[in-house]
Amino acid sequence: MSSTTVAASPRSIAWQRRRRALAQAWGLYRRHVPGMIGLSVLLVVVVMALLAPVISSHSELDVVNTVDHQRWASPAQVPPLGTDDYGRSVWAQFAWGARISLLVGLAATIIAIVIGSVVGIASGFYRGIGSAILERITEWFLVIPFIPLAIVLAAILGPSVRNIIIVIGITSWPSTARLVRAQVLTLKERLYVERSRALGASTRHLMGRHIFPNVSPIILANLTLTVPVAILSETTLAFLGLGDPTRASWGKMLEESFKAGALTRDAWWYYLPPGLGIMAVVLAFTLIGTALEEILDPRLRESRR
């Protein structure tokens, strides 16, 4: 090794530190048992959704193809999950339905988080009329109850996966915005932001170096806790008949099973699996979110000092 080593640039030091912090965070996460359980369950569901074409047949979803299949077959008669009132394979609906539930959950959450974060940061960081208006709008949207608004929007826009994603995204951003705004306001009061300003730091610098890195953990934790809400919302909307009629989803399975009288027929294989699937995914995200919250809250901040 040479005796004169070139000092690493500040940027590479920063990146090294970030990588180390990430590795540390992952190490902490790995030891968090509920968090790992949640992650594993989520992985199983994602794999199942991705492999849907492989593990089940898409044609089984179309009524046209199942005209001559046995109706209301139990899993004993038609493994693995029997058939519904049209003779369609319940297992195929379950596997393919996972895709929609996950897709809507994630996509809607991303929309909600992006809008919410932008609005939250803007209204927290800037003063003046603009930010006051943004704050007012956030408060107003928080007041409008979700389901009626979603119903109206879905009824007007028409049922399709894209529209459902938009509807849920539009109705979910306010709570993120409020959370982010509160965090930005606390951050603004921290001394180092003031000092940076006094040093003449530009807004871009403040945003990039101070605000954003300190808000991202909150946003990340909020993201994992918003996905369950989005998935449950999709389920409810689908149950109310506002889902995409051409695509199988877990919510749609519940809608159809209810309408077709699966309850009185005791066709448990039709309504039990989708509910359990939703529970599993929601629990998985909740556990992951709790693990992230615990990790990001006191510990990482200590080690970064």
Binding site: E139, W140, V143, I144, P145, F146, I147, P148, L149, I151, V152, L153, A155, I156, L157, G158, P228, L232, T235, T236, F239, L240, G241, L242, G251, L254, F258, L263, T264, D266, W268, Y271, L272, P274, G275, I278, M279, V282, L283, T286, L287
Partner: protein, 322 residues
């Protein structure tokens, strides 16, 4: 709590209500321009039918004329006539409001009481088996779609075991009155109330738990114990009242939201409330009904938010004595 404070809050609530009223109008117009075309998608309409429908919708005249007419009507609580029943929307809403309020009221009460109790036990004995057990239970009930839970309860207790009726609010054809009628209604309300209670108690438990955990870190609890108070007294007299503050507002706010959140559950149990009304209105779609319901639901939330605000400022002496 001075008058100025109250007035300020009430005015803010009214402003929000005004916003919602305007928003309601534009929601049905601006989003995609021609509601008639949207809602009667796929049905062939003659020009005459179109014009007639537009008139019925109040879509004739310019936008601003429509808007003014809408405002006038709204202030008089005239939301038009339902497409399915042709009765004034408001009378349908009025009729169906009480079953929902009763159902949601009872459920909120029960889920609050039990949720708070569970939260207290879980926090006070944190990291014990009791804590993990209760937290796991509440996480599980929170993760379930509330109407799916309703389906399970319905199948188990009504269809299979026959302990409870399968739906509705009274036994059809029965003309019981007075106490017998109330008992019958309560019997019908049991399962839907149980469903909603279980669905919402998780949130209260979790919030109470984390609120109490935060309170437990405060110095004044150590002081209370040092004074010679018994552990239970420290908990109930010092920790819980402080920890309850955020929960109280949550209750009030939730009540507003649950009013509209019980739609799916009411559908499952055929409970003749606003939820079922909404569910049926979606079939049409019964546009005036939906519009009226949207306004009513939003107004309920605004009102309960105001109640929550005032309640909190009354209960927390730090806010009260400003």
């Amino acid at each position: 709590m001075n008058l100025r404070f109250v007035t300020r809050k009430v005015l803010a609530a009214l402003a929000t209500l005004a916003f919602v009223i305007c928003f309601n109008f534009f929601l049905f117009r601006v989003v995609e321009g021609d509601p008639v075309a949207n809602l009667f998608r796929g049905k062939n309409l003659t020009l005459e039918q179109r014009l007639e429908l537009r008139k019925q919708f109040g879509l004739d005249g310019s936008q601003s004329e429509q808007f003014v007419r809408y405002l006038e009507q709204t202030v008089q609580l005239n939301f038009g006539r339902s497409y399915t029943t042709n009765r004034p929307v408001m009378s349908d809403i009025w009729e169906r409001a009480w079953p929902t309020i009763a159902l949601v009221g009872v459920s909120t009460l029960l889920s609050t009481v039990f949720g708070v109790m569970i939260g207290i036990v879980a926090a006070w004995r944190r990291r014990s088996k009791a804590d993990y057990g209760w937290t796991g239970f509440t996480m599980a009930t929170y993760a379930m779609p509330d109407f799916w839970l309703g389906m399970l309860l319905l199948v188990t207790f009504a269809v299979t075991l026959g302990w409870f009726p399968v739906g509705g609010i009274t036994d059809t054809g029965s003309d019981a009155t007075g106490l017998a009628k109330l008992v019958d209604q309560a019997h019908h309300m049991f399962l839907p109330a149980l469903t909603l209670t279980l669905a919402y108690l998780g949130e209260y438990a979790l919030v109470m738990r984390s609120s109490l955990l935060e309170t437990m870190r405060e110095d004044y609890l150590t002081l209370a114990r040092a004074k010679g108070l018994r552990d239970v007294v420290v908990r109930n007299r010092h920790a819980v009242p402080n920890a309850l503050l955020p929960v109280v507002t949550l209750i009030a706010i939730n009540f507003g939201f649950v009013l509209s959140g019980a739609i799916a559950v009411e559908a499952i149990y055929s409970w003749p409330g606003l939820g079922l009304l909404t569910y049926d209105a979606l079939r049409g779609p019964d546009l005036p009904m939906l519009q009226g319901l949207f306004l009513v639901f939003s107004a309920a939330v605004i009102f309960m938010n105001l109640v929550a605000d005032l309640l909190y400022s009354y209960l927390d002496p730090r806010v009260r004595t400003e």
